[in-house]
Symmetry: C2
Subunit: 209 residues, 2 copies
DNA sequence: ATTAAAATGCCCCATATGCGTAATTGATTG
DNA sequence: CAATCAATTACGCATATGGGGCATTTTAAT
């Protein structure tokens, strides 16, 4: 194991792609790519014996998916970064991969040079993403502009999320507890929920605050 | 207004930096940078008269911040993309900017070439971020690996977030309502909360599900 | 000017919730 | 083997919550 080279492993079922990637990476002077796997199970079992700096993980694998792979390997290899590789840019896959612990997400049309740059970026503290993925991720933070709630209701909802009860909300807004209850009823109606828990959930997930 | 060029406006209080950026951008054949502003108020008032494709927005501005600026301009200029520019990489600023509607976030040490590339990327559907920012953003999706909750408690918490009550949770888990209550008590204790609303909030914000 | 929300306020009532306390079993771990 | 902890069950109690209905005033919007 050359200490100066960035050690990369690949998990990819298509042997052609796997070998191609391996050649690109291993052929580059600053990288080394010795241990590759054709499925998740092998990777989960064997990668811990030869811990790489970065694992390129295909998402669509036979058996357990690359997402599952990251989830399992992340605990066994806390020092390894995971770069997802996929053909289709599926919304759910992106966010699931990220919450599983991926530090980057590339589409397979990424040209070789960029792939190598991305791997470098990962070990240097970056998080490379293909442009459409980055956009998707950032967009997930955007607020829903058209909240169905009135200003006052939004104010009440915020306090609901803080776990405040009728009385404290009422005091904070200088209105009666009954008014607060009326607002909450209205909020529930508009959000189509009938409990605080659901209201809080919707408020957070839809950025209504 | 040249239709072939990408139209850029800058909001930046430091006149030196503003002019420097303007020179870099306007000096490049594929860009045009005519209308720049030294503060948010001016930008909010005047930019709608000359809507640019991209606005480079400084965060630390005298008066209302660049974040506030994005929030206000985003509604007036729905077709414009906002690229934040800042010196310090403050966590809160990043996420606030994104939820305000920014589509990119660059640190001021970004070299001119990359800045231009980033602007191009934005209009082409990307979301450029400086490496440490990208890492921060992706990390925000990572699950808290060391959840203080037991598996059973996590299961209960999920159902709490769905707005289920003691009875339905109990039925779903094939245990008594009292058991569910005991679990919930334990959850509250571990999460340092004392209501569903707070528990749901923590669960979502800390990815405990 | 008329209508429609929004914001405010109130009552009753059944049930859900949170808190305290306590006990049993099984698994894990030192 | 002892100790700890997770999971389970249980009871009582004060209060919070959600549902229903109803009324007034202020503030948009048409």
């Amino acid at each position: 194991m050359n200490e100066n080279k960035i050690n990369v492993s690949i998990v990819e079922d298509d042997s052609e792609i796997r070998q191609l990637l391996s050649l690109i990476i291993d052929g580059s002077p600053s990288f080394e790519c010795k241990y590759n796997y054709s499925n998740c199970e092998d990777a989960v079992e064997q990668a811990p014996q030869n811990p790489p700096d970065v694992i390129l993980m295909d998402i669509d694998l036979p058996g357990s998916s690359g997402i599952e792979g990251v989830r399992e390997l992340k605990v066994k290899l806390p020092g390894t970064d995971f770069l997802m590789l996929t053909i289709k840019e599926n919304d759910e896959s992106v966010f699931e991969s990220l919450s599983a612990g991926a530090t980057g997400y590339l589409l397979k049309d990424t040209p070789p040079t960029e792939l190598l740059d991305s791997i470098k970026s990962v070990v240097n503290g970056g998080s490379p993403m293909s442009p459409p993925i980055a956009r998707k991720v950032l967009s997930s933070f955007h607020k829903t502009v058209d909240s169905p709630l009135s200003e006052r209701e939004t104010e009440v909802l915020k306090k609901l999320c803080d776990g405040e009860n009728y009385k404290t909300i009422a005091d904070a807004l200088f209105v009666s507890g009954n008014t607060v209850r009326a607002h909450i009823k209205s909020i529930y109606k508009k959000l189509h929920v009938n409990s605080r828990a659901e209201a809080v959930r919707k408020a957070i997930n839809q950025n209504l605050l």
